[in-house]
Protein backbone atom coordinates (compact mmCIF):
# COMPACT_ATOMS: atom_id res chain seq x y z
CA UNK A 1 0.00 0.00 0.00
CA UNK A 2 2.19 2.82 -1.27
CA UNK A 3 -0.56 5.38 -0.79
CA UNK A 4 -1.13 4.81 2.87
CA UNK A 5 2.60 4.81 3.52
CA UNK A 6 2.77 8.24 1.95
CA UNK A 7 -0.35 9.71 3.44
CA UNK A 8 -0.20 12.40 6.10
CA UNK A 9 -3.93 12.64 6.81
CA UNK A 10 -6.53 9.90 6.57
CA UNK A 11 -10.24 10.26 7.22
CA UNK A 12 -12.09 6.96 7.61
CA UNK A 13 -15.87 7.09 7.28
CA UNK A 14 -16.31 10.21 9.40
CA UNK A 15 -19.85 11.42 10.07
CA UNK A 16 -21.37 14.23 12.07
CA UNK A 17 -24.91 15.53 12.21
CA UNK A 18 -26.42 18.65 13.70
CA UNK A 19 -30.05 18.36 14.72
CA UNK A 20 -30.77 15.52 12.31
CA UNK A 21 -28.94 17.07 9.36
CA UNK A 22 -25.98 15.03 8.26
CA UNK A 23 -23.35 17.70 7.70
CA UNK A 24 -20.66 15.15 6.94
CA UNK A 25 -21.75 11.68 5.92
CA UNK A 26 -19.28 8.78 5.89
CA UNK A 27 -16.49 10.78 4.36
CA UNK A 28 -13.20 9.09 3.65
CA UNK A 29 -10.15 10.68 2.16
CA UNK A 30 -6.45 10.37 2.10
CA UNK A 31 -4.09 13.32 1.76
CA UNK A 32 -0.59 12.40 0.62
CA UNK A 33 2.58 13.94 1.89
CA UNK A 34 3.50 17.24 0.19
CA UNK A 35 0.34 17.26 -1.86
CA UNK A 36 -1.94 20.20 -2.61
CA UNK A 37 -5.36 18.73 -2.03
CA UNK A 38 -8.56 20.72 -2.54
CA UNK A 39 -12.04 20.19 -1.17
CA UNK A 40 -14.73 21.80 -3.30
CA UNK A 41 -18.49 21.67 -3.36
CA UNK A 42 -21.57 23.89 -3.23
CA UNK A 43 -22.40 25.94 -0.14
CA UNK A 44 -23.45 23.77 2.78
CA UNK A 45 -21.69 20.71 1.38
CA UNK A 46 -19.89 20.13 4.68
CA UNK A 47 -16.45 21.35 3.70
CA UNK A 48 -15.81 23.60 6.69
CA UNK A 49 -17.41 21.04 8.99
CA UNK A 50 -14.90 18.49 7.73
CA UNK A 51 -12.11 21.00 8.44
CA UNK A 52 -13.42 21.53 11.94
CA UNK A 53 -13.43 17.79 12.57
CA UNK A 54 -9.88 17.47 11.26
CA UNK A 55 -8.58 20.33 13.40
CA UNK A 56 -10.46 19.10 16.47
CA UNK A 57 -13.09 21.84 16.90
CA UNK A 58 -15.79 19.21 16.34
CA UNK A 59 -15.62 15.58 17.30
CA UNK A 60 -16.68 13.07 14.65
CA UNK A 61 -19.69 11.04 15.79
CA UNK A 62 -18.46 8.10 13.76
CA UNK A 63 -15.26 7.19 11.98
CA UNK A 64 -11.70 8.16 12.70
CA UNK A 65 -9.05 10.67 11.72
CA UNK A 66 -5.39 9.75 11.44
CA UNK A 67 -2.73 12.44 11.25
CA UNK A 68 0.88 11.42 10.54
CA UNK A 69 0.32 8.05 12.14
CA UNK A 70 -1.60 9.27 15.22
CA UNK A 71 -5.29 8.77 15.83
CA UNK A 72 -6.50 12.33 16.45
CA UNK A 73 -10.25 11.62 16.42
CA UNK A 74 -10.66 12.43 20.08
CA UNK A 75 -7.89 14.98 20.56
CA UNK A 76 -8.46 18.65 21.40
CA UNK A 77 -7.51 21.44 18.95
CA UNK A 78 -4.36 22.43 20.84
CA UNK A 79 -3.18 18.83 20.99
CA UNK A 80 -3.65 18.45 17.24
CA UNK A 81 -1.74 21.70 16.64
CA UNK A 82 1.15 20.23 18.62
CA UNK A 83 1.30 17.31 16.20
CA UNK A 84 1.99 19.80 13.39
CA UNK A 85 -1.30 20.99 11.93
CA UNK A 86 -1.94 24.67 11.27
CA UNK A 87 -5.08 26.26 9.90
CA UNK A 88 -6.72 29.46 8.76
CA UNK A 89 -10.39 30.36 9.12
CA UNK A 90 -13.10 31.23 6.64
CA UNK A 91 -13.98 34.41 8.56
CA UNK A 92 -10.58 35.57 9.78
CA UNK A 93 -9.83 34.80 13.42
CA UNK A 94 -6.94 37.20 13.93
CA UNK A 95 -5.93 38.61 17.31
CA UNK A 96 -7.29 42.05 16.50
CA UNK A 97 -5.82 43.98 19.43
CA UNK A 98 -2.28 42.83 18.66
CA UNK A 99 0.31 43.86 16.12
CA UNK A 100 1.06 41.65 13.11
CA UNK A 101 4.33 40.58 14.70
CA UNK A 102 2.59 39.64 17.98
CA UNK A 103 0.01 37.59 16.11
CA UNK A 104 2.83 35.49 14.73
CA UNK A 105 4.74 35.48 18.02
CA UNK A 106 1.67 33.95 19.68
CA UNK A 107 1.95 31.12 17.17
CA UNK A 108 5.49 30.37 18.39
CA UNK A 109 3.95 29.17 21.67
CA UNK A 110 4.64 25.50 21.17
CA UNK A 111 8.15 26.11 19.84
CA UNK A 112 9.08 28.04 22.98
CA UNK A 113 10.39 26.02 25.89
CA UNK A 114 10.90 28.61 28.63
CA UNK A 115 8.70 28.28 31.72
CA UNK A 116 6.67 30.82 33.64
CA UNK A 117 9.28 31.35 36.39
CA UNK A 118 12.00 32.18 33.90
CA UNK A 119 9.62 34.55 32.17
CA UNK A 120 8.85 36.37 35.41
CA UNK A 121 12.46 37.42 35.79
CA UNK A 122 13.08 37.47 32.02
CA UNK A 123 16.49 35.87 32.16
CA UNK A 124 18.91 35.35 29.29
CA UNK A 125 17.33 32.06 28.29
CA UNK A 126 13.98 33.78 27.76
CA UNK A 127 15.50 36.67 25.83
CA UNK A 128 17.56 34.36 23.61
CA UNK A 129 14.62 32.18 22.76
CA UNK A 130 12.46 35.23 22.09
CA UNK A 131 15.14 36.55 19.73
CA UNK A 132 15.12 33.25 17.84
CA UNK A 133 11.34 33.33 17.61
CA UNK A 134 11.38 36.92 16.41
CA UNK A 135 13.91 35.97 13.74
CA UNK A 136 11.71 33.12 12.58
CA UNK A 137 8.64 35.37 12.58
CA UNK A 138 10.39 37.97 10.45
CA UNK A 139 11.57 35.26 8.04
CA UNK A 140 7.95 34.27 7.56
CA UNK A 141 6.80 37.88 7.27
CA UNK A 142 9.33 38.58 4.52
CA UNK A 143 8.41 35.30 2.79
CA UNK A 144 4.85 36.69 2.66
CA UNK A 145 5.95 40.24 1.78
CA UNK A 146 4.59 41.48 5.10
CA UNK A 147 7.83 42.92 6.47
CA UNK A 148 6.53 46.47 6.07
CA UNK A 149 3.49 45.99 8.29
CA UNK A 150 5.13 43.97 11.08
CA UNK A 151 4.41 46.58 13.74
CA UNK A 152 0.95 47.60 12.57
CA UNK A 153 -2.19 46.62 14.39
CA UNK A 154 -4.07 44.07 12.29
CA UNK A 155 -7.26 46.13 12.32
CA UNK A 156 -5.39 48.93 10.54
CA UNK A 157 -4.78 46.65 7.56
CA UNK A 158 -6.90 45.86 4.54
CA UNK A 159 -8.72 42.56 4.21
CA UNK A 160 -6.32 40.92 1.71
CA UNK A 161 -3.35 41.78 3.95
CA UNK A 162 -5.19 40.48 7.00
CA UNK A 163 -5.72 37.19 5.19
CA UNK A 164 -2.01 36.96 4.50
CA UNK A 165 -1.27 37.70 8.16
CA UNK A 166 -3.49 34.82 9.18
CA UNK A 167 -1.66 32.58 6.71
CA UNK A 168 1.59 33.78 8.25
CA UNK A 169 0.36 32.98 11.72
CA UNK A 170 -0.43 29.41 10.66
CA UNK A 171 3.02 29.14 9.03
CA UNK A 172 4.68 30.37 12.23
CA UNK A 173 3.58 27.07 13.80
CA UNK A 174 5.91 25.38 11.30
CA UNK A 175 3.19 22.85 10.51
CA UNK A 176 3.50 19.66 8.48
CA UNK A 177 -0.04 20.11 7.22
CA UNK A 178 -1.72 23.43 6.51
CA UNK A 179 -5.50 23.73 6.32
CA UNK A 180 -6.69 26.77 4.35
CA UNK A 181 -10.39 27.59 4.50
CA UNK A 182 -11.23 29.64 1.39
CA UNK A 183 -7.92 31.49 1.14
CA UNK A 184 -8.96 33.34 -2.06
CA UNK A 185 -12.37 34.52 -0.87
CA UNK A 186 -12.57 38.31 -1.10
CA UNK A 187 -9.37 38.62 -3.13
CA UNK A 188 -9.25 40.20 -6.58
CA UNK A 189 -7.84 38.56 -9.69
CA UNK A 190 -4.25 39.71 -9.18
CA UNK A 191 -4.25 38.88 -5.46
CA UNK A 192 -5.60 35.41 -6.24
CA UNK A 193 -2.82 34.81 -8.75
CA UNK A 194 -0.26 35.86 -6.12
CA UNK A 195 -1.88 33.55 -3.60
CA UNK A 196 -1.64 30.62 -6.04
CA UNK A 197 2.09 31.19 -6.39
CA UNK A 198 2.39 31.51 -2.63
CA UNK A 199 0.61 28.21 -1.97
CA UNK A 200 2.79 26.45 -4.52
CA UNK A 201 5.84 27.89 -2.83
CA UNK A 202 4.59 26.83 0.62
CA UNK A 203 4.47 23.29 -0.69
CA UNK A 204 7.58 23.50 -2.88
CA UNK A 205 9.96 25.58 -0.76
CA UNK A 206 8.71 24.85 2.75
CA UNK A 207 7.65 21.26 2.07
CA UNK A 208 4.27 21.71 3.74
CA UNK A 209 1.27 19.64 2.69
CA UNK A 210 -1.71 21.87 1.87
CA UNK A 211 -5.36 20.95 2.25
CA UNK A 212 -7.65 23.71 1.08
CA UNK A 213 -11.29 24.58 0.65
CA UNK A 214 -11.87 26.96 -2.23
CA UNK A 215 -14.60 28.29 -4.46
CA UNK A 216 -12.34 29.93 -7.03
CA UNK A 217 -12.32 27.18 -9.64
CA UNK A 218 -9.54 28.54 -11.82
CA UNK A 219 -7.25 28.65 -8.83
CA UNK A 220 -8.26 25.19 -7.59
CA UNK A 221 -7.77 23.67 -11.02
CA UNK A 222 -4.37 25.29 -11.53
CA UNK A 223 -2.70 24.46 -8.21
CA UNK A 224 -4.28 21.25 -6.91
CA UNK A 225 -2.79 17.82 -7.34
CA UNK A 226 -6.08 16.18 -6.45
CA UNK A 227 -9.57 17.41 -5.73
CA UNK A 228 -12.49 15.95 -3.86
CA UNK A 229 -16.01 17.19 -4.54
CA UNK A 230 -18.54 17.10 -1.71
CA UNK A 231 -22.27 17.54 -1.76
CA UNK A 232 -24.62 17.01 1.17
CA UNK A 233 -21.66 15.86 3.26
CA UNK A 234 -20.79 13.06 0.86
CA UNK A 235 -18.07 12.48 -1.69
CA UNK A 236 -19.31 12.89 -5.24
CA UNK A 237 -16.02 12.29 -6.90
CA UNK A 238 -12.29 12.42 -6.36
CA UNK A 239 -9.49 12.84 -8.84
CA UNK A 240 -6.98 15.03 -10.61
CA UNK A 241 -8.29 18.41 -11.93
CA UNK A 242 -8.94 17.13 -15.48
CA UNK A 243 -11.11 14.30 -14.18
CA UNK A 244 -13.11 16.66 -12.00
CA UNK A 245 -13.68 19.18 -14.78
CA UNK A 246 -15.13 16.50 -17.04
CA UNK A 247 -17.29 14.76 -14.48
CA UNK A 248 -21.02 15.04 -15.12
CA UNK A 249 -21.86 14.52 -11.41
CA UNK A 250 -19.88 17.63 -10.49
CA UNK A 251 -21.73 19.80 -12.98
CA UNK A 252 -24.96 18.39 -11.64
CA UNK A 253 -24.05 19.17 -8.02
CA UNK A 254 -23.27 22.78 -8.86
CA UNK A 255 -25.92 23.51 -11.48
CA UNK A 256 -28.66 20.99 -10.74
CA UNK A 257 -29.94 18.10 -12.87
CA UNK A 258 -30.44 18.80 -16.54
CA UNK A 259 -34.13 19.14 -17.31
CA UNK A 260 -35.28 15.94 -19.04
CA UNK A 261 -37.53 17.88 -21.43
CA UNK A 262 -34.74 20.03 -22.78
Amino acid sequence: MKNSMNSILTLQDISISFGGIKAVNQLSLDVRNQEIFAIIGPNGAGKTTAFNIISGLYRAQAGSVLFSGTDITNLLPHQIAHLGMGRTFQNLELFTLMSVEDNLMAARHMHTKTNFWNELIRNKKVKDEEEQNRKKVHEILSFLNLGEVANKKVTDLGFPIQKRVELGRALALEPKLLLLDEPAAGLNFVETAELSELIKSIRGDLGITVLLIEHDMSMVMSISDRIIVLDYGKEICLGVPEEIQNDARVVEAYLGKRDSHA
Partner: protein, 320 residues
Protein backbone atom coordinates in the same frame (compact mmCIF):
# COMPACT_ATOMS: atom_id res chain seq x y z
CA UNK B 1 20.01 55.09 17.87
CA UNK B 2 16.93 57.07 18.71
CA UNK B 3 15.13 54.07 20.13
CA UNK B 4 18.15 53.22 22.28
CA UNK B 5 18.18 56.76 23.68
CA UNK B 6 14.46 56.56 24.36
CA UNK B 7 14.94 53.29 26.22
CA UNK B 8 17.74 54.77 28.34
CA UNK B 9 15.56 57.80 29.08
CA UNK B 10 12.62 55.61 30.05
CA UNK B 11 14.69 53.31 32.25
CA UNK B 12 16.48 56.15 34.01
CA UNK B 13 13.24 57.99 34.71
CA UNK B 14 11.80 54.78 36.14
CA UNK B 15 14.84 54.33 38.37
CA UNK B 16 14.52 57.98 39.47
CA UNK B 17 10.85 57.48 40.44
CA UNK B 18 11.66 54.32 42.39
CA UNK B 19 14.51 56.06 44.25
CA UNK B 20 12.24 59.04 45.03
CA UNK B 21 9.61 56.64 46.35
CA UNK B 22 12.10 54.71 48.47
CA UNK B 23 13.38 57.97 49.96
CA UNK B 24 9.86 59.36 50.39
CA UNK B 25 9.81 58.73 54.18
CA UNK B 26 12.58 61.35 54.46
CA UNK B 27 10.62 64.19 52.97
CA UNK B 28 6.86 63.55 53.18
CA UNK B 29 4.48 63.37 56.10
CA UNK B 30 3.16 60.15 57.59
CA UNK B 31 -0.29 60.90 56.25
CA UNK B 32 1.06 61.19 52.71
CA UNK B 33 3.08 57.99 53.22
CA UNK B 34 -0.11 56.24 54.19
CA UNK B 35 -1.92 57.64 51.15
CA UNK B 36 0.83 56.68 48.68
CA UNK B 37 1.00 53.26 50.37
CA UNK B 38 -2.72 52.70 49.79
CA UNK B 39 -2.34 53.87 46.16
CA UNK B 40 0.44 51.35 45.56
CA UNK B 41 -1.51 48.53 47.22
CA UNK B 42 -4.62 49.28 45.17
CA UNK B 43 -2.39 49.32 42.08
CA UNK B 44 -1.00 45.86 42.94
CA UNK B 45 -4.47 44.37 43.43
CA UNK B 46 -5.81 46.16 40.35
CA UNK B 47 -2.85 44.84 38.39
CA UNK B 48 -4.05 41.33 39.21
CA UNK B 49 -7.49 42.16 37.85
CA UNK B 50 -5.90 43.96 34.90
CA UNK B 51 -4.08 40.84 33.76
CA UNK B 52 -7.25 38.77 34.15
CA UNK B 53 -9.57 41.13 32.25
CA UNK B 54 -7.11 42.84 29.97
CA UNK B 55 -5.33 39.72 28.80
CA UNK B 56 -7.68 36.81 29.41
CA UNK B 57 -11.13 38.46 29.26
CA UNK B 58 -11.76 36.90 32.68
CA UNK B 59 -14.27 39.21 34.38
CA UNK B 60 -13.63 38.41 38.01
CA UNK B 61 -15.37 40.03 40.97
CA UNK B 62 -13.15 37.94 43.21
CA UNK B 63 -10.42 40.53 43.73
CA UNK B 64 -11.83 42.10 46.96
CA UNK B 65 -12.24 38.54 48.24
CA UNK B 66 -8.65 37.61 47.44
CA UNK B 67 -7.45 40.84 49.01
CA UNK B 68 -9.41 40.05 52.18
CA UNK B 69 -8.09 36.50 52.14
CA UNK B 70 -4.50 37.71 51.89
CA UNK B 71 -4.99 40.29 54.62
CA UNK B 72 -6.57 37.87 57.12
CA UNK B 73 -4.30 34.96 56.19
CA UNK B 74 -1.19 37.09 56.75
CA UNK B 75 -2.56 38.60 59.95
CA UNK B 76 -3.58 35.23 61.40
CA UNK B 77 -0.33 33.38 60.67
CA UNK B 78 1.74 36.28 61.95
CA UNK B 79 -0.26 36.09 65.18
CA UNK B 80 0.01 32.29 65.41
CA UNK B 81 3.71 32.25 64.50
CA UNK B 82 5.16 35.54 65.77
CA UNK B 83 8.68 34.34 64.99
CA UNK B 84 8.10 34.24 61.24
CA UNK B 85 9.94 37.11 59.52
CA UNK B 86 7.96 39.37 57.22
CA UNK B 87 9.26 38.01 53.87
CA UNK B 88 8.24 34.48 54.88
CA UNK B 89 4.72 35.63 55.74
CA UNK B 90 4.54 37.47 52.46
CA UNK B 91 5.60 34.41 50.49
CA UNK B 92 3.28 32.10 52.45
CA UNK B 93 0.38 34.48 51.79
CA UNK B 94 1.25 34.68 48.10
CA UNK B 95 1.35 30.89 47.84
CA UNK B 96 -1.89 30.45 49.81
CA UNK B 97 -3.71 33.07 47.71
CA UNK B 98 -2.48 31.46 44.52
CA UNK B 99 -3.66 28.09 45.83
CA UNK B 100 -7.12 29.47 46.63
CA UNK B 101 -7.15 31.12 43.20
CA UNK B 102 -6.36 27.78 41.63
CA UNK B 103 -9.09 25.99 43.58
CA UNK B 104 -11.71 28.68 42.84
CA UNK B 105 -10.58 29.08 39.23
CA UNK B 106 -10.73 25.39 38.41
CA UNK B 107 -14.55 25.16 38.45
CA UNK B 108 -15.33 28.86 37.78
CA UNK B 109 -13.27 29.21 34.60
CA UNK B 110 -15.60 26.82 32.79
CA UNK B 111 -17.96 29.77 32.92
CA UNK B 112 -17.66 32.94 30.87
CA UNK B 113 -18.66 36.59 31.00
CA UNK B 114 -21.64 37.30 33.24
CA UNK B 115 -21.75 33.83 34.82
CA UNK B 116 -18.06 33.90 35.68
CA UNK B 117 -18.57 37.35 37.21
CA UNK B 118 -21.43 36.01 39.35
CA UNK B 119 -19.47 32.94 40.48
CA UNK B 120 -16.47 35.00 41.55
CA UNK B 121 -18.76 37.53 43.23
CA UNK B 122 -20.20 34.57 45.12
CA UNK B 123 -16.70 33.63 46.27
CA UNK B 124 -16.04 37.12 47.60
CA UNK B 125 -19.39 37.34 49.39
CA UNK B 126 -19.02 33.89 50.94
CA UNK B 127 -15.55 34.79 52.16
CA UNK B 128 -16.79 37.93 53.92
CA UNK B 129 -19.46 35.85 55.68
CA UNK B 130 -16.86 33.24 56.67
CA UNK B 131 -14.56 35.93 58.07
CA UNK B 132 -17.31 37.13 60.38
CA UNK B 133 -18.32 33.56 61.22
CA UNK B 134 -14.89 32.43 62.45
CA UNK B 135 -14.75 35.24 64.97
CA UNK B 136 -12.34 33.47 67.32
CA UNK B 137 -9.69 33.70 64.57
CA UNK B 138 -10.70 36.90 62.84
CA UNK B 139 -12.42 38.91 65.56
CA UNK B 140 -15.63 38.78 63.56
CA UNK B 141 -17.52 42.06 63.39
CA UNK B 142 -15.25 43.65 65.95
CA UNK B 143 -12.27 43.22 63.67
CA UNK B 144 -8.72 42.22 64.53
CA UNK B 145 -5.47 44.02 65.16
CA UNK B 146 -2.51 43.09 63.00
CA UNK B 147 0.82 42.47 64.73
CA UNK B 148 3.56 44.65 63.24
CA UNK B 149 5.81 42.76 60.82
CA UNK B 150 9.13 41.50 62.12
CA UNK B 151 12.41 40.82 60.41
CA UNK B 152 14.64 38.74 62.68
CA UNK B 153 14.96 40.70 65.92
CA UNK B 154 13.67 43.91 64.31
CA UNK B 155 10.06 44.95 64.73
CA UNK B 156 9.07 47.00 61.71
CA UNK B 157 6.25 48.86 63.37
CA UNK B 158 6.93 52.27 61.84
CA UNK B 159 4.97 53.36 58.81
CA UNK B 160 8.27 54.20 57.09
CA UNK B 161 9.49 50.59 57.04
CA UNK B 162 6.10 49.26 55.95
CA UNK B 163 5.96 51.87 53.22
CA UNK B 164 9.34 50.77 51.87
CA UNK B 165 8.17 47.15 51.75
CA UNK B 166 5.10 48.23 49.80
CA UNK B 167 7.28 50.13 47.33
CA UNK B 168 9.51 47.08 46.84
CA UNK B 169 6.57 44.76 46.23
CA UNK B 170 4.95 47.32 43.94
CA UNK B 171 8.12 47.59 41.87
CA UNK B 172 8.43 43.80 41.71
CA UNK B 173 4.80 43.52 40.57
CA UNK B 174 5.36 45.98 37.72
CA UNK B 175 8.61 44.23 36.83
CA UNK B 176 6.97 40.77 36.73
CA UNK B 177 3.91 41.89 34.81
CA UNK B 178 5.91 43.79 32.24
CA UNK B 179 8.17 40.74 31.76
CA UNK B 180 5.25 38.36 31.40
CA UNK B 181 3.51 40.64 28.92
CA UNK B 182 6.44 40.32 26.52
CA UNK B 183 6.86 36.58 26.92
CA UNK B 184 5.34 33.38 25.61
CA UNK B 185 2.80 33.33 28.43
CA UNK B 186 1.81 36.96 27.80
CA UNK B 187 1.22 36.28 24.13
CA UNK B 188 -0.80 33.18 24.99
CA UNK B 189 -2.97 35.08 27.50
CA UNK B 190 -3.69 37.94 25.12
CA UNK B 191 -4.46 35.56 22.29
CA UNK B 192 -7.10 33.93 24.52
CA UNK B 193 -8.70 37.36 25.02
CA UNK B 194 -8.79 38.01 21.26
CA UNK B 195 -10.02 34.60 20.14
CA UNK B 196 -10.07 31.28 21.95
CA UNK B 197 -10.63 29.20 18.82
CA UNK B 198 -7.68 30.70 17.02
CA UNK B 199 -5.53 30.42 20.15
CA UNK B 200 -6.35 26.71 20.45
CA UNK B 201 -5.48 26.20 16.79
CA UNK B 202 -1.99 27.52 17.65
CA UNK B 203 -1.45 24.82 20.25
CA UNK B 204 -2.36 26.97 23.25
CA UNK B 205 -4.07 25.00 26.01
CA UNK B 206 -6.86 27.45 26.84
CA UNK B 207 -8.04 25.83 30.07
CA UNK B 208 -4.53 25.61 31.47
CA UNK B 209 -3.48 29.13 30.50
CA UNK B 210 -6.68 30.64 31.91
CA UNK B 211 -6.15 28.83 35.19
CA UNK B 212 -2.54 30.04 35.28
CA UNK B 213 -3.73 33.59 34.66
CA UNK B 214 -6.47 33.46 37.29
CA UNK B 215 -4.01 32.02 39.81
CA UNK B 216 -1.51 34.77 39.03
CA UNK B 217 -4.10 37.54 39.37
CA UNK B 218 -5.48 36.09 42.61
CA UNK B 219 -1.98 35.89 44.02
CA UNK B 220 -1.51 39.63 43.40
CA UNK B 221 -4.84 40.23 45.17
CA UNK B 222 -3.65 38.31 48.22
CA UNK B 223 -0.25 40.02 48.29
CA UNK B 224 -1.96 43.42 48.14
CA UNK B 225 -4.18 42.27 51.00
CA UNK B 226 -1.37 41.34 53.38
CA UNK B 227 0.41 44.63 52.68
CA UNK B 228 -2.85 46.45 53.38
CA UNK B 229 -3.19 44.60 56.68
CA UNK B 230 0.27 45.75 57.76
CA UNK B 231 -0.28 49.30 56.57
CA UNK B 232 -3.51 49.94 58.43
CA UNK B 233 -2.79 47.59 61.33
CA UNK B 234 -6.44 46.69 61.87
CA UNK B 235 -8.83 44.56 59.81
CA UNK B 236 -12.58 44.34 59.29
CA UNK B 237 -14.33 42.38 56.55
CA UNK B 238 -16.27 45.53 55.63
CA UNK B 239 -13.08 47.26 54.49
CA UNK B 240 -12.96 44.82 51.62
CA UNK B 241 -16.63 44.28 50.89
CA UNK B 242 -17.09 47.98 50.12
CA UNK B 243 -14.27 47.89 47.57
CA UNK B 244 -16.60 46.06 45.19
CA UNK B 245 -16.27 48.00 41.98
CA UNK B 246 -13.29 50.20 42.83
CA UNK B 247 -10.81 47.98 41.02
CA UNK B 248 -12.92 48.08 37.88
CA UNK B 249 -13.06 51.86 38.22
CA UNK B 250 -9.29 52.04 38.55
CA UNK B 251 -8.83 49.97 35.41
CA UNK B 252 -11.38 51.87 33.37
CA UNK B 253 -9.70 55.16 34.28
CA UNK B 254 -6.12 53.94 33.86
CA UNK B 255 -6.49 51.71 30.84
CA UNK B 256 -7.34 48.02 30.77
CA UNK B 257 -4.68 45.71 29.40
CA UNK B 258 -1.80 48.16 29.72
CA UNK B 259 1.11 47.52 32.06
CA UNK B 260 0.95 51.00 33.68
CA UNK B 261 -2.83 51.53 33.59
CA UNK B 262 -3.54 50.10 37.09
CA UNK B 263 -0.97 52.38 38.71
CA UNK B 264 -2.18 55.49 36.87
CA UNK B 265 -5.80 54.60 37.66
CA UNK B 266 -5.01 54.08 41.35
CA UNK B 267 -3.22 57.41 41.60
CA UNK B 268 -6.16 59.24 40.05
CA UNK B 269 -8.89 57.39 41.89
CA UNK B 270 -7.21 57.77 45.28
CA UNK B 271 -6.39 61.43 44.76
CA UNK B 272 -9.91 62.37 43.72
CA UNK B 273 -11.28 61.98 47.29
CA UNK B 274 -8.38 64.14 48.47
CA UNK B 275 -9.45 66.86 46.08
CA UNK B 276 -13.19 66.47 46.54
CA UNK B 277 -12.95 65.67 50.24
CA UNK B 278 -14.24 62.81 52.37
CA UNK B 279 -13.04 59.28 51.63
CA UNK B 280 -15.82 56.82 50.64
CA UNK B 281 -18.83 58.86 51.73
CA UNK B 282 -22.15 59.18 49.95
CA UNK B 283 -21.31 62.13 47.77
CA UNK B 284 -18.09 60.47 46.62
CA UNK B 285 -20.11 57.72 44.98
CA UNK B 286 -21.71 60.38 42.82
CA UNK B 287 -18.27 61.55 41.71
CA UNK B 288 -17.15 57.99 41.03
CA UNK B 289 -20.31 57.25 39.11
CA UNK B 290 -19.83 60.33 36.96
CA UNK B 291 -16.20 59.42 36.28
CA UNK B 292 -17.12 55.88 35.34
CA UNK B 293 -19.79 57.09 32.94
CA UNK B 294 -17.52 59.68 31.33
CA UNK B 295 -14.72 57.19 30.79
CA UNK B 296 -16.89 54.38 29.47
CA UNK B 297 -18.55 56.76 27.02
CA UNK B 298 -15.59 58.88 25.92
CA UNK B 299 -12.42 56.92 26.62
CA UNK B 300 -13.22 53.24 27.12
CA UNK B 301 -9.52 52.40 26.84
CA UNK B 302 -8.65 54.60 29.79
CA UNK B 303 -6.15 57.42 29.95
CA UNK B 304 -3.23 55.30 28.74
CA UNK B 305 -5.28 53.92 25.86
CA UNK B 306 -6.33 57.42 24.91
CA UNK B 307 -2.81 58.83 24.99
CA UNK B 308 -1.47 55.70 23.32
CA UNK B 309 -3.77 56.11 20.32
CA UNK B 310 -3.09 59.85 20.20
CA UNK B 311 0.62 59.17 20.05
CA UNK B 312 0.30 56.55 17.31
CA UNK B 313 -1.96 58.87 15.33
CA UNK B 314 0.55 61.68 15.52
CA UNK B 315 3.37 59.31 14.60
CA UNK B 316 1.62 57.86 11.55
CA UNK B 317 0.65 61.34 10.43
CA UNK B 318 4.27 62.35 10.66
CA UNK B 319 5.22 59.46 8.38
CA UNK B 320 2.58 60.15 5.76
Amino acid sequence: MQSVNKKVLKNSSLVLIVVLLLLAPLYISNYLLYLVGVILIMAIVAQGLNTMIGWGAIFSFGQPGFMAFGAYFGAIISRLFPMLPFPVILILTAVASALIGFVIGFPCLRLRGFFLAMATYGFSSALFVLINFFNNLTGGNEGMYVAPPTFGPMVLSSIESIFIMIVIIGVLTQFFVSNISKSRTGHAWRSIRDGEIAAASLGINIAREKLKLFTFGSCLGGVGGVLYAYLIGYLQADFFSIMGLSFFLILVVGGIGTVWGPLLGSVIMMLIPQVFGGLFNQSMNLVYGAILLIFVLIAPNGLLGMFGSLITNVKSRGKA
